[in-house]
Amino acid sequence: MKRFLQTICFIALMLFLVACNSEAAGTTEDGKTKIEYWHVNAETQGGQTVKQLVEDFNAQSETVEVVAKYNPDMYKGLMQNLQAEAAAGNAPAVVQVGWSFLNYFSDNFSYVSPQTVIEQHFPEDETFLQDKFLPNVLDLAKNSDGEQVGIPYSLSSPVLYINRDILREAGLDENGPQTWEEVKEFSKVIKEETGKYGFYFQEPADNWATQALLESNGAQFITDGKATFASEEGIEAYELLADMVLEDETALHIGWDQGVQSFIDGSVAMAYTTIAQRSNIQDNAQFDVAAVKSPAWEGKDVKLPAGGAMLTITAPNEKEQKAAWEFMRYLYSIESMAEWTKGTGYVPPRNDVADAENGLKTYLEENEMMTAAVEQMDGVVPWASFPGDAGLEAEQLLLDLRDQILGGSISVEEGLTSIEDKINELLND
């Protein structure tokens, strides 16, 4: 033991004496511009693809070297790190910014609009954005002042995963419910026939799915910079979910990971969650699993907020900004986009990837579950992002409200109304 401890001490001291070499961003030995790319893609969510894309890019680029940095805890975690970095006076070059942080990001961080960089340094790409992206998709990355903050990169939408085995066992249509009303009915039947939970509605640390549920019923999260979700339609929509959890006890109120775990192991018949979970569910479920389009409300159009993130340029100087666009242009190429979709399950933001031979044509044909997500993209609306300094607080209030409502400590009507008032008060400050 003594010998062992001495060895440890010795090694430790040696290690300390070896000079520490921290390479800062800047220029590498071979004259390439070195930039940082911050992403949130865990290994289960395209981490490998990010790695591959960055490696390939570095291999073919003579002027730029990209270092990818994974940020745990999704866009919130990334924003935290960015905050700390900014407080310390640094910034990476390219950053994934989640939609819900769109306004907060543009209000608080310094960035350059991609188009500006393009016009300054890459006249040949001047029409790149306009040519390759649909206007409604590009609009997703505009802040409340109408500025193009970044370029949409990861696009996801919520779909309904169904366990056909359970549906059949309960004597229900194995193609799953088409409307929210049916979701509720199905769940009741499932509970009665099989004793299992009928439904799980994803509960992450954001209000993305909630927005889909409410806005599809005709409610509007934000109108003219004010919160307006507590409309009649909004309350009605939320009540359906609350009823399922509290009254019928057919829906599961549980954390996201645990909810998905319960769907995969067959304890829950249907799960409403992001298409990004597809590979996890598809690979691990041992039953007849399918993904169907997001349910509508009887007689109404589906409105689905885009999930995911945009890429923004936060590089502080022109050299790095230039490098940033070079890297981004590579990421937005058809081949890269296709890889990205395959690796993550996200829907490609470029309009020409899905049908291109070097894009996703064959892939989509082979992966039925993706179809639901791609097909419903015409219903995409921007993710509601509250403007101003209080935006994040407003978002947090809504999250807290979800726990209160589904925990049964407040009625939907009272909860939505009071939080709406509170948020509007905050936004007015």
Partner: protein, 304 residues
């Protein structure tokens, strides 16, 4: 020169004492830079409204304090913190105390095995523990739920129920903390002279009396140390499972002062509120600090 001499005189600085100061310099530098300065900076921040990145900090006087103390949420967090402390103390102070006593006095066999096994999880990361327990304790699909299902029991939906969530997160934390405290207390009890315990046994004193009237007072210095450590350290340990499993939810039901300070700083970016909460936490800990110097530091000295 004369000023230097004066300093020397007031500090009573002869060669011998200079060595004493010298030995402290490494610690003092590290603490000054990485603890005391940050502490003062946090005090400073508690008087400003700042979101960590904006170049301007707005001086708001005691408004942060007014807001934090005026917010009913703060009192919910106080309540949670108190509940955490009570549960953690019960599991990580009272139970190990009894266990240490039992293993030292009552049990004659397998003592070595028990000690090794109970200490084992203390060596493992709480992140690992948090992920592991989230899975194991899944109220619908987890192994425990299934085993309970066989005997017709249900696991409460703990991640989403007030009260339960604190209990379970405390249990996860205890998984790691229990063994260490147990060994500390065992060491102390084991160090009590056997003659004293034996003479009590000769007088036919029942075990519980031995525990309360001999063991407890004679190991009190360690007891208080563990007591304080449980509050100060475990409350910080709980941070990891809270962050990994619930992020303070549902509706702040699992948040405590430490996590809430983090939440204010890094989730909603209200640095001033976060600093204020930290300062309030410090003030509460100060009471413990007082206890510590009153009993542990000197108590231990005399116990030797």
């Amino acid at each position: 020169m004369s000023a230097l001499a004066a300093v020397r005189k007031t500090l009573h600085l002869n060669r011998e004492n200079a060595i004493g100061y010298g030995l402290l310099i490494p610690s003092i530098i590290i603490f000054a830079v990485f603890t005391f300065w940050p502490f003062l900076y946090t005090v400073y921040l508690s008087f400003f409204d700042w979101n960590m990145i904006s170049p301007e900090k707005e001086f708001v006087g005691i408004r942060n304090y007014m807001e934090v103390l005026g917010d009913p949420r703060t009192y919910q967090i106080f309540g949670n913190t108190f509940l955490y402390i009570v549960i953690l103390l019960a599991i990580n102070c009272v139970v190990p105390y009894i266990f240490a006593f039992v293993i030292d006095i009552v049990l004659k066999r397998w003592n070595g095995f028990y000690k090794s096994a109970l200490f084992l999880p203390a060596f493992i990361s709480l992140v690992v523990g948090s992920i592991l327990f989230t899975w194991i304790l899944n109220p619908v699909s987890g192994p425990l739920a299934i085993v309970f299902g066989w005997i017709g029991l249900e696991i409460p939906n703990w991640t989403k129920s007030e009260g339960w969530v604190i209990l379970v997160l405390s249990l996860i934390t205890s998984w790691k903390v229990f063994g260490y405290n147990f060994i500390l207390l065992y060491a102390s009890i084991n160090g009590i002279s056997r003659e004293i315990i034996e003479s009590a046994r000769l007088d036919n004193v029942p075990l519980w009396r031995i525990f309360f009237q001999i063991i407890l007072p004679m190991s009190s210095a360690t007891g208080i140390y563990v007591f304080i450590l449980t509050i100060v350290q475990s409350l910080q340990y709980v941070f990891t499972p809270v962050k990994v499993v619930t992020q303070g939810g549902p509706d702040y039901a699992s948040s405590n002062l430490i996590y809430h300070a983090y939440h204010e700083a890094f989730v909603v970016y209200r640095t001033g509120h976060s600093a204020t909460l930290s300062i309030i936490t410090m003030a509460l800990f100060l009471i413990l600090l007082f206890l510590y110097f009153k009993f542990v530091d000197r108590g231990i000295y005399y116990e030797n």
